[in-house]
Symmetry: C2
DNA sequence: TTAATACTTTGCAAATATGCATTTTTTATT
DNA sequence: AATAAAAAATGCATATTTGCAAAGTATTAA
């Protein structure tokens, strides 16, 4: 239990839970893991390698994008996805700071 | 990006997402925070202090219990809740190990 | 043993998330 | 300009989660 009471503001609490919710899905975790393991990866590679539907993949990528967990960069007709490690670290730290 | 490809087994991936899903809810985060700040806390205190419905509180506590995030100990008609810090740490480490 | 308190469980409606097929948008190629 | 490929967005059915009220269980106290 924490000795010094730190009141966490509501916005941050909510923001953290948004990020966590985005991570907390089996498919999205798989996708995140795959992006992590392959630098400069495009959507095609993601759904073909993981054996997912294109539209489902795109949907989940949108959720990850909205949560700020991944960044995109267009290269011609391809869109490369990469992980925003800062954001991940941030949310992990948030949990740790929140409960320790 | 990770250099050494570590294949994370599916059970662990799924287990992690279960725990994260349990954490990733504004109300549950509030409850977790409150339990963290008050050692030996009972359900009454939780929902009265946080201004929640009794049954809703109980429901979310069940979710936290099932996920293994909190432990309970009955003391007469009161049930004391405490946080399983090991489990929290475990899931945080899981994310970090999973993506770094 | 009756009543009261603390907590859990259940049933159900409303909200949200998910999966899938289809359409749309963007860019490259011919 | 027409076609093709990559990715996003949309519409809709199904599944899951949530909140709430009511009923059930356990323990204490009168």
């Amino acid at each position: 239990m924490r000795k010094t009471k730190v009141s966490i503001n509501k916005e941050k609490l909510h923001a953290s839970s948004e990020v966590l919710r985005a991570i907390a899905h089996p498919l999205r975790m798989k996708i995140l893991e795959f992006i992590d393991q392959n630098e400069e990866i495009n959507v095609n590679k993601i759904y073909n390698t993981l054996g997912l539907e294109q539209s489902i993949t795109s949907q989940h990528l949108r959720i990850l994008r909205t949560a700020g967990l991944v960044n995109t960069q267009r290269d011609g007709k391809y869109i490369h996805y990469s992980i925003d490690y800062g954001k991940i670290e941030e949310s992990v730290v948030a949990i740790q700071r929140f409960l320790h």
